[in-house]
């Protein structure tokens, strides 16, 4: 199963490159933080699909669509594995220094998340969105 996660690296490289399209403030502290958070969140989301959505399966498809606009990125991941209820995933108990259950917290902390479970052959759809914030003006590329 972990072999399939190697495809994640291609996805993350694409996401990282796409982050450069959202602003001309590339390499600013705000942009570096933006890219760091987007790549971290997408990495966790990809892991969750492979390890949980496709758990017990030898193969599975993940479609990734990246949309960029001025100071904004959407990353949509579609899969045909098991769906989940985001509202039933508990918050980590940080006082106990948890060793697991942290991925969804990272995703939600770093990006806005919309999730639509798949039905009748239609895929689960996870849309992660983030706006680049900061004081400097930007000329995002489309």
């Amino acid at each position: 199963m972990l072999d399939r996660l190697q495809h994640r690296d291609h996805t993350l490289r694409s996401v990282s490159q796409a982050c450069k399209l959202v602003s001309d403030r590339v390499e600013s502290p705000e942009w570096k933080e933006f890219r760091l958070q987007v790549v971290s969140a997408v990495s966790e989301a990809f892991n969750n699909i492979v390890l949980h959505g496709y758990e017990g399966r030898e193969d599975g498809v993940i479609e990734v669509e990246i949309r960029t606009g001025p100071d904004h990125i959407d990353v949509e991941l579609r899969d045909w594995g098991a769906s989940f209820d985001p509202n039933k995933i508990p918050q980590p108990d940080f006082d106990s220094l948890p060793e697991s259950g942290l991925g969804m917290y990272i995703i939600r902390a770093f990006m806005s998340m919309r999730y639509h479970p798949g039905k009748k052959g239609r895929p689960n759809v996870l849309v992660l969105s983030k706006a680049l914030e900061g004081p400097a003006p930007s000329r995002g590329k489309t």
């Binding site: 972990l2 996660l5 190697q6 933080e33 760091l36 958070q37 790549v39 971290s40 990495s43 966790e44 892991n47 390890l51 980590p92 940080f94 220094l97 948890p98 060793e99 697991s100 942290l102 991925g103 917290y105 990272i106 902390a109 770093f110």
Partner: protein, 110 residues
């Protein structure tokens, strides 16, 4: 991931982790943690200055190391966190144990 371990005369173990620590590479780290724990080190110094990226699985392994060494009566000192790994540690409130820019996991302060 780059992983190197050395043991000093007093049993202090130095563990350097570089590159990417994620759900793929964490298996190697967990095996190394088992070897480290077998020696019941009095102190483990974890050098994370070359760590470029960590995910929740990697964080879990580092927290496990911290807990288990302390359970053996030892101390853990983590240092060198920066960029993405530092952001993740801060988000997950592991910087509660940061002292002077270093994570000193055996000596928590407010």
């Amino acid at each position: 991931m780059n992983l190197s371990t050395s043991v000093g005369d007093s049993g202090i173990t130095r563990l350097a982790i570089g590159g990417e620590l994620d759900v793929i590479t964490v298996t190697e780290l967990r095996a190394e943690i088992e070897r480290v724990l077998a020696n019941r080190p009095p102190r483990v110094e974890v050098d994370l200055s070359s760590l470029r990226m960590v995910d929740s699985s990697g964080v879990g392994a580092l927290v496990s190391l911290y807990k288990r060494v302390r359970a053996q009566g030892g101390e853990v000192v983590m240092s060198g966190l920066r960029d993405q790994p530092l952001a993740i540690f801060r988000l997950l409130r592991l910087d509660r144990v940061m002292i002077g820019g270093e994570l000193q996991a055996g000596k928590q302060t407010a």
